[in-house]
Subunit: 401 residues, 2 copies
């Protein structure tokens, strides 16, 4: 039996509030053997105070050794087995820009590129064409027309745009057309299973018409398709957990992920303090709040240890505003580790703090990787965090007699 | 692959003895932040001595966050995945009073109640009618007769009795008829799936005839049906572990659970010291002994921290009598936590002690929740305890070449 089958039956409702604060890529590594990680080096007095009262541990995003992308990383935190629920990048990007995918839709991340007269790629990102120039081009591509199919073309940013195909019998297993090289033409769309043949044919027709429409444009005269994916079907937070859930994020990707889980994306925060305002405004309307902070990941990706330390300290500053609202359960963790040392996502367990009245605290004194190793949560798969959150919120009935 | 498929092949027999001492609801919580749990506050010199020599850890009854009832809690300890093997309350109660359920039987927990002249419930438990009065009434209900069906009616205690339906094509998914309120009539039995329609019809007929038979009785003139359930099918201890297993328990529920796992219920102990006598008498006849102690749970359920501490100390006093017999593997744990603080079952990992010659001891000095966090067993799902017990008893062959 799967986790959700049980939680769907056991959850009950009350007026508790659960806050999940995600420092993206929170976990790290020391720069030198025996040194401190980014989180350990950062001054995080508020999280440390909660660590003393709460319970720590390490969450394993997928299973030991697996470094997840943002999709599986967040799905795990949201309680969905990330190996079972796969979300294609196209579906994620479309949802992230606010496009509400329907069942059966296929979404595609597209790049504008430049082609020479022979049709070979000269720049895979069209010189990272500014959005002011690329958006009108994307809108121009709405002229592409294929009988029996609805086609949506949405600008994103710089060289990126999204295409959504809507029609009967579309599946999403089509290979990328970006050859990952210049001096060669884009690849022909290739179906990876029989059910996706129709989608591959439509993709080829889209590219053909698009190239025609872009002919003569100097900034970008071609496009490649990537991350072609059908809308995934996830049971909603309301259904499986009985939670009215709100997502407060700045970046489209995380809003999109939250939407797929059935969360409402609330507010239009641009900064962490905006997010705190939005949290306060929506406090009475929801039971669960997902707060996403991007910069612990982006600084880690940049390989900038000191910048990640500063961003971790910034994350800590929002804690009092959250705790003032009186949550019953507060969790701070990451969707994966992004050690500056590795300048990328990693497989290391993610430091995790759970604070609640009856959490059975451990002897940990501060929030950091070494302390978390001795925490009362032990090391658990991220997908179990939601059942722990519900239990600590008194929102789960007893299983069996 | 499921645990049992492997153990069925790997187990081997020898003359070792394994004792599983279950303090029901053993795990707890401190009353105040930074305080001790019930187990930590209790003086448990014998368990502490074994903790020094043995290995500690925390067992997770089901998965993180899930608070199990006695059924799933014990099934986990017995090595059955509690999410796979579901036991309905009726089946549990029937087995617990010594009724040997057969494949296809449907068992029902029934309550005597009182009804007013309009058929509305005035007392859901018939004033907790004394057993001396309720038992004859239950026996009177053996007059209920439905062609083609065998009906067994067994008194239990106070307002409770058990009905077992035996016949062709009976399934157990029928909703409770107790409306959980007074001033309304009992609910009509409602099948929850098509396969259970016949059972629902039989239940309605039973209630109709029973109400007729009880007409005019002053102590109880109606009944409600709860926990309607078919007999679950569990592979036996003998088959999967190669163990001749004995259960020494005081309460029917735990005898019943042990019987479902194919254990022999031995003796007729009323007290912990009776249980020690029964253990001694049966020592040569069995390989595995399940000893159940109820009062760590019942005091926890009562929210009485001090009483739970005393009962935990009582549990400790039986340890020398067990160790004198020279078991090869001794395990002390609980089926779940029942913190007095919560006055109910909880999801917290259960302190677990395994003592055996080659257990690879850890640095733990005493038996308690905080020490268990640093124990060599780590935190494991309860369903893995039996394979650990067998391994420590030298009863498992190598897996694979």
């Amino acid at each position: 039996m799967e986790i959700h089958e049980l939680l769907r039956d056991l959850h009950t409702k009350n007026d508790t509030k659960i806050v999940l604060l995600v420092g993206d890529g929170l976990g790290g590594l020391p720069q030198t053997p025996g040194g401190k990680t980014e989180l350990e080096a950062a001054a995080t007095p508020h999280l440390d105070a909660l660590a003393k009262e709460g319970i720590l541990g390490g969450t394993i995003p997928v299973f030991p050794g697996i470094s997840p992308g943002s999709g599986p990383g967040h799905l795990g935190l949201f309680g969905y087995d990330p190996v079972k629920y796969l979300i294609g990048r196209g579906a994620l990007e479309a949802t992230g820009i606010g496009f509400e995918l329907r069942e059966g839709d296929v979404a595609i991340r597209c790049n504008f590129c430049t082609l020479d007269s022979a049709g070979n790629i000269t720049d895979r990102r069209a010189g990272r064409i500014p959005t002011e120039q690329s958006a009108p081009l994307a809108i121009q591509l709405r002229q592409v027309s294929i009988p029996g199919i609805e086609i949506f073309v949405e600008p994103v940013k710089e060289h990126r745009f999204v295409v959504v195909l809507r029609g009967e019998g579309l599946e999403g297993n089509v290979a990328d057309t970006d050859p990952q090289a210049t001096g060669v033409p884009p690849l022909a769309p290739q179906a990876l299973d029989p059910g996706s043949e129709k989608t591959a044919t439509l993709c080829a027709e889209f590219v053909k018409q698009a190239t025609e429409l872009l002919k003569g444009e100097s900034a970008a005269n071609g496009c490649t398709l990537r991350g072609i994916a059908a809308k995934p079907t996830l049971p909603s937070y309301e259904e499986i957990y009985g939670l009215r859930a709100a997502a407060i994020a700045v970046y489209p990707m995380y809003k999109g992920l939250a939407r797929l889980a059935g969360m409402d994306v609330v507010g239009d925060a641009k900064t962490l303090s905006d997010q705190m305002e939005v949290l306060k405004e929506n406090w009475e309307k929801y039971d669960f709040f997902f707060l996403h902070f991007k910069y612990t990941d982006s600084t880690g990706e940049d390989g900038d240890f000191d910048a990640k330390v500063k961003r971790t300290e910034q994350l800590d500053t929002c804690v009092p505003a959250i705790m003032e609202l009186g949550p019953d359960v507060f969790i701070c963790t990451g969707d994966h580790s992004t050690p500056a040392m590795l300048a990328g996502h990693s497989w290391h367990p993610v430091p995790t703090l759970l604070w609640a009245k009856h959490c059975r605290t451990d002897r940990c004194e501060s929030f950091g990787e070494a302390e978390c190793l001795h925490g009362g949560l032990g090391q658990i798969e991220a997908k179990y965090l939601m059942s722990l959150a519900l239990a600590n919120a008194g929102r789960l009935n007893k299983f069996g007699a």
